[in-house]
């Protein structure tokens, strides 16, 4: 009888301890978008092993939906995630409007990491009054992805492709009308818009200067518009917009020679867009010594988040450690913003997908040369208006100077709302 009592007491105690242990485990929600999630998934097991008390639940949404949902949650002050990723295009909007905790304050003290973060990225996450509301997690050096096999067939060497002119010459040789219907079926690139982005983004300012004044009628934009227009007129672009089925086809079929984009696109091509084309790709610097930032993300903790301390542990784990930054880089080309990771041997590794090229070294070099770009809360609007102006120039023969002048007026009109 006594034995039974002792045994049952033991069981009760064990169950009690077990339940307590389970109860002590905190689940934090981490909201993100593709391919950020692949990067996180790669390091989650390690996180759970090192932080047995914290359980991470990933909430992945489509890119645009992610930011819309986030805004709604913050506006409503309910159901907010504990950690959220924010993409560079949206960051200025959130930086200006608040809704996130200041990571420089107690108990976060993020200031200690400042010297190890790529500097332009740090300032983009910082508000005008000096609060850090979004912690840099990755950057996106812009590069050109090119078809290695096609370029070789055309008889060019990548070492000689230094200027935009070089690419245009190669493109003219490659662009062809194969079925004789008067329209090209092979092109230099999918969309002339990318030529515009390449040039427009290669400055210290993008759509606004430091005083918040729109500068879309500057010489850089006119040059970018004219270059895009020239590419269109020569039949060098397929007029295919990004993220469409036709766009994916160009990667699979090799009907397009180059695609300028951030380092992250390499992960997309390899992981899902054109998995069969391994070995056919190469990476090269943008022409004319341009160095641009093409994407990149931040991590932030909403003010209404329930588990802020655990959230901060997760952010530190993701963004301030060499091993995890490198793991994400390896999984999805998510380029580290944590500078101590830059001396990792992985940069010296040959990448199979790029036919053994040491592409990461190239990204690293570009990353270190990107200027400090000024961001503005109206960047998203400005980009859409400028894009619309570019379409007018490309499709309807509007004069670039005139189109940009009108775009500037539109941006200024809207920037007050």
């Amino acid at each position: 009888m006594r034995k039974l009592l002792v045994v049952s007491l033991m069981i009760v105690l064990l169950v009690g301890i077990f339940t307590l242990a389970v109860a002590a485990k905190t689940t934090i929600k981490v909201a993100c978008y593709p391919d950020q999630d692949s990067g996180f998934e790669d390091i989650l097991d390690q996180f759970h092993a090192e932080y047995p008390d914290i359980e991470v639940e990933l909430v992945t949404n489509g890119f645009a939906d992610h930011h819309k949902t986030l805004l709604t949650q913050i506006a409503a002050g309910a159901e907010v995630p504990d950690v959220t990723t924010i993409e560079i295009a949206y960051i200025a909007n959130f930086v200006a409007n608040g809704g996130f905790v200041n990571l420089l304050e107690e108990p976060y003290n993020a200031g200690q990491f400042k010297d190890n973060i790529v500097s332009y990225k740090w300032s983009q996450g910082t508000t005008n009054d000096g609060r850090l509301i979004a912690f840099p997690s990755d950057i996106a050096p812009g590069t050109i992805y090119y078809r290695r096999d096609i370029l070789a067939d055309l008889g060019y060497k990548i070492e000689d492709m230094k200027t935009l002119e070089d690419w245009l010459v190669a493109g003219l040789k490659f662009a062809k009308d194969l079925d004789g219907d008067g329209v090209n079926d092979r092109w230099l690139l999918a969309d002339a818009t990318d030529i515009f982005f390449m040039i427009a983004r290669s400055g210290k300012e993008l759509y606004f200067n430091e005083n918040g004044k729109s500068i879309v009628d500057s010489a850089r934009f006119i040059k970018a518009f004219r270059a895009a227009k020239m590419v269109r007129e020569k039949g060098l672009d397929a007029r295919i917009g990004a993220w469409t089925n036709e766009w994916y086809s160009t990667f699979k079929n090799g009907t397009v020679l180059i695609q300028p984009c951030g380092a992250w696109l390499g992960g997309h091509i390899r992981n899902w867009i054109a998995t069969d084309t391994a070995g056919n790709w190469g990476v090269s610097n943008l022409p004319d010594e341009m160095y641009v930032n093409w994407g990149g993300s931040f991590l932030a903790i909403p003010e209404k988040a329930k588990h802020k301390e655990e959230a901060w542990e997760f952010i530190k784990f993701v963004a301030t450690r060499k091993d995890t930054q490198i793991a994400q880089f390896k999984a999805s080309n998510i380029f580290p913003s944590w500078m101590p990771a830059f001396d990792d041997p992985i940069f010296e590794e040959e990448m199979e997908f790029f036919a053994g090229q040491k592409a990461r070294l190239l990204w690293l070099e570009a990353a270190q040369k990107i200027p400090n770009v000024v961001t503005n809360k109206y960047d998203v609007i400005a980009e859409e208006i400028v894009r619309a102006a570019l379409t007018e120039v490309l499709e309807n023969d509007v004069d670039p100077v005139q189109a940009l002048k009108e775009a500037k007026a539109q941006i200024e009109r809207r920037a007050r709302r």
């Binding site: 805004l71 913050i74 609007i381 499709e395």
Partner: protein
């Protein structure tokens, strides 16, 4: 506790009203409130009176979107109702067997999700790899058709969703395909309500098919046409999913040719976080719909 007999019915119907007030009435009223404020979703709201309305009414993009919606409305409503009326007339006659089969096949597009249908049409419309262009290219090889294409100066491949001039017809084609079946069912129901005796009397008087159609069927269907066209006005001025999915970058496409008012107000609110302006736009759109519906009822209710 027992419910009194007076209170019981209200308690039983309350779930509907509770849900309606939360998800129906509240957003409508709140957006009216928002239309007088500048608000980005996060910062405090700033009261600006009628400024948002003035901004919208003086915004060239807004008027372009209204124009786009109206053109698409005309491009879809006219063929849609003519075809639907014609189909309903055939279905109602005794010439057709397997009526149920035809009725459901024509109705099928209506119950399919707009988003899914738009995605499929997006593939059909592809410039280089789309089926429509493949068919046209094949047809062009026949000299007669090729010559015809030449006469109307049709250059293949057509950039259905890339070239401003084609965007509205492309969207209109999809919408027409989608909603013709729905209108056909409405007209079919209307036709069934016309008493057989009228046809018989016409027959006795020696009326031909054409006379029956124009002197009996059309006048008798007048209220049904009013209903159908009113629904088309409301539906077309709120056209959203189709241009949203079809146009590149979800922005309305080249030269904003596919930017409908509903798409524009969505972009203003949710892409640019200008919820005040978006709300004002929604209310202006609502006024437009009411005006058009009134004009429509003036036309068709004349006796």
């Amino acid at each position: 506790m027992r419910l009194s007999k007076k209170a019981a019915p209200y308690v039983f119907i309350s779930p509907f009203y509770i849900l309606f007030f939360i998800f129906g009435a509240f957003p409508i009223i709140y957006s009216f409130f928002l239309s007088f404020h500048i608000w980005d979703g996060i910062s405090p709201k700033e009261f600006v009176g009628f400024e948002n309305y003035i901004f919208v009414l003086t915004d060239p993009w807004f008027w372009q979107s209204v124009w786009n919606s109206l053109v698409i409305f005309i491009l879809t409503t006219i063929p849609q109702h003519i075809i639907a009326l014609f189909l309903a007339f055939i279905l109602n006659s005794n010439l057709v067997k397997l009526k149920n089969l035809f009725r459901s096949s024509y109705f099928l597009p209506y119950i399919t999700s707009s988003v899914a249908v738009s995605m499929v049409f997006g593939m059909l419309y592809g410039e280089h790899f789309g089926i429509l262009n493949a068919i046209l290219k094949y047809m062009e090889k026949f000299s007669l058709i090729g010559a015809m294409f030449n006469i109307i100066n049709l250059k293949l491949p057509i950039r259905w969703l890339g070239e401003a001039a084609w965007i509205k017809p492309s969207i209109a084609l999809l919408v027409t395909w989608q909603f013709t079946g729905w209108n056909m069912i409405i007209y079919y129901a209307g036709l069934q309500n016309i008493p057989e005796s009228l046809y018989e009397a016409a027959k006795v008087d020696g009326a031909n098919m054409r006379q029956v159609f124009f002197k009996i069927i059309l006048p008798m269907l007048r209220p049904v046409i009013l209903f159908g066209v009113t629904l088309s006005i409301i539906g077309n001025l709120q056209l959203f999913e189709q241009p949203f999915i079809l146009t590149p970058d979800r922005t309305g496409g080249s030269g904003r040719a596919g930017l409908t008012t509903a798409l524009y107000l969505y972009r203003t609110g949710f892409n640019w976080n200008m919820f005040g302006v978006g709300s004002a736009m929604a209310y202006i759109l609502c006024v437009f719909i009411i005006i058009l519906s009134l004009i429509n009822s003036k036309i068709f209710q004349k006796r």
